[in-house]
Amino acid sequence: MAIKVLVIDDSDMVRHFHSNILKSSGFEADGAIDGMDALEKAVQTNYALMLCDLNMPRMDGITFIKEYRKTGKETPIIIITTQEELENRKKGYESGANLYITKPVKPDDLILNIKMLLGIS
């Protein structure tokens, strides 16, 4: 069974890209347009991993991760953003993210990061 990944980003383009990359490596990908949307979808479906943007309308990435972790679920979350600041990274870890990747990231690297975090080869 294919591994399901949720791509959370308000940009259609980024969602499309990341989904494409994931699909080409044999993952299954869903999209969520912001934190609110993601929270709904993550409760309904059991995802193996989530890719999460930081700046989004309605609910941003940090808030989403905090809210999500409150449900007690430990699904690995990778923050993927253009913000390189250390401060943001700290916030990310503290909210409950597992990994922090700065855009742009090569497709190969993204897939490797995901596989490594999931411990699958």
């Binding site: 690995p76 990994l99 855009k103 090569k106 497709p107 490797l112 990061n113 975090l117 999931l118």
Partner: protein, 978 residues
């Protein structure tokens, strides 16, 4: 009032601008005819001035238009674009338009001509890559792919480096992507990086700056590249394969070549021998630039030969050495492309490829590789030399070897998957997990974060295959999960990663470290001379799985050097990174900035300063006359003297500076000797250890050039005739390895260079016999051994039992001697049979400028003694001069000092002594001698000019100089005088 003034300035500006344009016009035409890009600097400045001022006077159109011209000129002066007829036309047209604008402005008319067309042309030219003709760009606006394909194909063919494939790349970037941080420029730069040739065709439709939207993509280039990367590798450059459409395109020319070659091989008429003398393709080489290329290549090679010889000796190439060698071949590749030498470009590319494999750790740079590169260097040198002689060189053997190597490496690569990608990610994740743990600790051991980090370690370890790390992570998770103290477990993980990041270790060490095997078992395995891992697995000492982990660790350690360079930012690595940067800086400092200056220019400068010294002396002379002949007020005389001193000081500074400019470390000539010695040693199967001492000693560049060949000769002599074969040395109970020392040091205004060997030495008996046979010495002459040995410096002397191709036919030593004496130096040979020889050369540090002692003879005849030869000057009473039976002499500091009258030395009759005798005590190689002169004048700095031809036969004249009052003075060569 102000109105009128402004008008005046405007008119003045217009006139000035017209002048500037006039000179710009001239420069542009000149630049086109002789290709001198320097000129564009001047034109650029002209136009820049107009642009700047025009705006201020309200000529906005002029300012705006100048900007287009300026941008193009900027590219030209930077060499981004090369000048051709089309560009010249465009530039001239631009200047014409500016002229027109000035004309309109003078007549106070509004400039109303439509400039859109020409501005478009400027835009197109500006966006052009180097070498791309204007036409392609001119057509580009609105032109589809179909229209440009022909031009593009033409260009690609022209720039086909002979390897790699041609691709067409269509970019599918949208504005949305730019907004999200995906700037296509990175991708474009990466594309250019991997390409041998890169061509971007783009339509130019940029809006005005004010209406430019920052996140809008205006240029949608079609890219054409030639690269040896595959379609997949190119696609991988983009983070999403959808971003680019990469299609391979064929170059007809290339195809034809490829189909032709197998045909030749299969053709039976070509025997193998004929194939062996395959010639190098010399088409397209710009011969007029070859000499420059050759000297560049020579310099490059010299800079790395020592690295190679070092590697050959130690059998190990440091990263620094390999990087340097890589850089050299990379530079050669670039230079060759510039000169149109496609073959050597290809050749250097192959070497570069091989070295790249070394750098990535895929192959090891060992003794053999060093020897191979040395062979390549010889081949390349021969190749260039043949070309300089307008011959068509043969295809070097090393070239074919490289081709074969390339192929075998490609197949090897397919077998061994690279793991660097994984490792980079692995290390960056691990760093993040440490960060998370750090934060968790600060947050009162936040269990959620600790768990996440532990899981991260565990899964990453699982992915990479480190079961031992996985277990550690598990233990850490257990402790942390139960709220217990996890310091030990964390330290264990930290240690594990630290070892991974440390430099590569031998497999055996890693296995011992992991506790899987003992040192003894490793030793035993080593003794069997097989791969350690295999043996241990065979013997059941080690599980295959443990071996794989250890092997993987080894790979990571080798790769961490590369991974550390990657730009992943992490808290943990921030510190180590800083350290690395510091290291980088200090290594940069080692290379002093330098620029190449034509030696002729320096010579000219030296001469000018020489003239300044003469003029300064004239000034002093005139000042003395003024003071003497006119009754000047004391204050004025003082001012005069002060000023004269100032000029003196400045000219001395200038003199010193120009001299230091001319100085080069003797390293420049010593550098080639490791190679020379190595080649001879190899050829004659001798073992020679070369030591170079004092290579930083500085010497005049001109002298260094003159010394280079004689030194090669001396070193060759020592290796060839001096140092014996190992068997002979062993028999003479010497070390089998011979020693050769090349030593340089300063003493006074001289540089001493010594060539010392511990070879068989020179046998005086043999030399004497030969000297008598050659008629150089009479049979009954009583000579010391040292005197006899000096005969080898005589013309036409050779004692070598057989002539070898290394040290030639014995015409050398006298040539060596005359080279040394031509720069005012001396040479001395010392030798002792069985112990070796020592050649000492004493060479003036510089030529051209010297301090001299001026003396007067007759009523008005002046001579100068170089100050190096003057020990002291004394005045004695006539009575003190004693008549010794072979001449005059005085009692001087407890010794008898022979005296000679200068007029006698100069071939005049001997004059009677005056009551007071002026003596210059000179020092020469022969010892001290007193020379009687009529009057001792002052000592002064003089610029020595070479001896005029009609004096050339008088060897006691070292040069000529001109005094302040215009009188010519002969500078005496005291060594020859006596």
């Amino acid at each position: 009032m102000t109105q009128i003034d402004m008008e005046k300035f405007r008119m003045e500006f217009l006139e000035e601008a017209a002048d500037l344009l006039e000179s710009a016009n001239e420069s542009i035409l000149k630049a086109e005819s002789d290709g001198n890009t320097e000129l564009f600097n001047a034109v650029f400045r002209n136009i820049h001035t107009i642009k700047g001022s025009a705006g201020g006077f309200g000529f906005d159109n002029m300012s705006e238009f100048s900007h287009h011209l300026e941008s193009l000129l900027d590219k030209l002066r930077n060499g981004d674009i090369t000048i051709d007829a089309d560009i010249t036309d465009l530039l001239l047209k631009g200047v014409d338009i500016l002229f027109e604008m000035i004309e309109y402005a003078r007549e106070k008319r509004e400039y109303d001509r439509d400039l859109t067309d020409i501005i478009t042309l400027f835009g197109a030219a500006n966006n052009m890559k180097k070498d791309a003709p204007v036409k392609a760009a001119e057509k580009a606006p609105a032109a589809g792919l179909t229209q440009t394909t022909e031009d593009v194909a033409q260009l690609l063919k022209q720039h086909d480096p002979g390897f790699g494939k041609a691709y067409h790349i269509k970019m599918n970037f949208t504005d949305d992507m730019l907004e999200n941080g995906y700037d296509p420029r990175t991708l474009l730069a990466n594309l250019e990086d991997i390409s041998e040739y890169y061509l971007a065709v783009t339509s130019v439709s940029m809006p005005e700056l004010s209406s430019l939207e920052p996140y809008k993509l205006y240029l949608h280039p079609e890219i054409y590249i030639i690269s040896d990367a595959s379609v997949e590798e190119i696609s991988d450059l983009a983070f999403d394969p959808d971003l680019m459409t990469v299609t391979e395109i064929s170059l007809e020319q290339k195809k034809a070549e490829e189909t032709q070659q197998p045909a030749i091989v299969s053709d039976e008429e070509f025997t193998e021998e004929e194939l062996d003398v395959e010639k190098v393709d010399t088409a397209g080489i710009q011969y007029e630039m070859l000499a420059e290329l050759a000297s560049g290549i020579e310099d490059y090679f010299e800079s790395i030969e020592n690295f190679l010889i070092e590697i050959e000796k130690t059998g190990e190439g440091t990263k620094d050495a390999v990087d340097n060698i890589f850089r050299v071949f990379h530079n050669i590749k670039g230079d060759c492309g510039y000169v149109g030498f496609t073959f050597l470009e290809k050749y250097a590319h192959l070497v570069e490829n091989m070295l790249d494999k070394v750098r990535s750790g895929a192959i090891v740079f060992d003794r053999k590789a060093a020897e191979f590169i040395l062979n390549v260097i010889s081949d390349v040198k021969a190749l260039v030399k043949a070309l300089l002689n307008k011959a068509t060189p043969e295809l070097p053997k090393t070239y074919k070897q490289l081709q074969n190597l390339q192929e075998s490496m490609l197949t090897l690569e397919e077998k061994v998957p690279t793991v660097t990608g994984d490792i980079k990610i692995f290390l960056s994740q691990v760093d993040q997990f440490f960060e998370i743990i750090g934060l968790a600790k600060a947050d009162g051991n936040n269990s959620g974060m600790l768990k996440r980090a532990a899981m991260g370690f565990s899964n990453a370890a699982k992915f990479i295959g480190f079961t031992d790390l996985m277990e550690m992570a598990q233990r850490f998770a257990n402790k942390a999960g139960s709220g217990a103290d996890f310091a030990t477990e964390l330290a264990e993980i930290e240690n594990y990663i630290k070892i991974l990041k440390s430099p590569a270790k031998k497999l055996g060490e890693l296995l011992v470290e992991s506790g899987k095997v003992t040192v003894k078992e490793i030793e035993a395995a080593k003794a069997q001379q097989k791969k350690i891992g295999e043996i241990l697995v065979d013997q059941g000492k080690l599980e295959q799985r443990d071996l794989e982990i250890a092997l993987k660790k080894q790979v990571i350690m080798k790769a961490t050097g590369a991974a550390a360079d990657s730009d992943s930012v992490s808290l943990a690595s921030a510190l180590t990174k800083e350290e690395q940067e510091e290291k980088g800086d200090s290594s940069k400092e080692k290379y002093s900035q330098s620029m190449k200056v034509d030696q002729e220019k320096i010579d000219k400068f030296t001469n000018t300063i020489g003239e300044l010294v003469v003029a300064k002396n004239a000034y002093e002379y005139m000042m003395q006359r003024l003071i003497r002949e006119f009754d000047l007020p004391t204050s004025l005389i003082k001012d005069f003297k002060d000023n004269s001193n100032l000029i003196s000081r400045i000219s001395q500074d200038l003199q010193r500076d120009i001299m230091s400019l001319r100085m080069v470390p003797i390293k420049q000539i010593f550098n080639k000797f490791p190679r020379v010695v190595r080649d001879i040693a190899r050829k004659q199967s001798k073992q020679i250890d070369l030591r170079i001492i004092g290579e930083d000693t500085e010497i005049d560049k001109k002298i260094a050039d003159i010394l280079s060949d004689p030194l090669v000769h001396l070193v060759r002599n020592s290796c060839d005739h001096g140092i014996e074969p190992p068997e002979d040395r062993a028999r003479a109970s010497k070390l089998e390895e011979g020693h050769l020392i090349l030593k340089a040091y300063n003493e006074g205004s001289f540089v001493y260079i010594e060539v010392i060997d511990d070879g068989r030495g020179i046998d005086p008996k043999k030399i004497l016999a030969k000297a008598i046979q050659k008629g150089l010495a009479s049979e009954d002459a009583v000579l010391t051994d040292n005197e006899i040995i000096q005969f080898i410096l005589a013309p036409g002397f050779s004692t070598a039992e057989q002539v070898t191709d290394i040290s030639g036919r014995g015409v050398g030593m006298d040539v060596v001697k005359s080279s040394i004496t031509s720069v005012g130096g001396t040479i001395d040979v010392q030798s002792s049979v069985g112990d070796g020889s020592r050649v000492v050369m004493k060479i003036p540090v510089t030529i051209g400028m010297s301090t001299s002692l001026l003396v007067r003879m007759q009523p008005n005849e002046h001579y100068a003694f170089p100050i190096e030869n003057v020990a002291e000057t004394i005045k004695v009473a006539k009575e003190q001069v004693k008549d010794l039976h072979f001449g005059n002499g005085i009692y001087y500091r407890g010794n008898v000092l022979p005296l000679v009258h200068l007029s006698k030395l100069l071939g005049d009759r001997e004059k009677d002594l005056a009551d007071e005798v002026n003596i210059v005590i000179t020092v020469t190689d022969e010892g001290k001698t007193g020379i009687i002169v009529d009057e001792l004048l002052n000592r002064m700095d003089i610029a020595i000019k070479p001896v005029p031809e009609y004096f050339a036969h008088l060897n006691y004249i070292g040069g000529v100089t001109i005094l302040g009052d215009g009188q010519a003075v002969l500078v005496l060569n005291v060594n020859k005088l006596l």
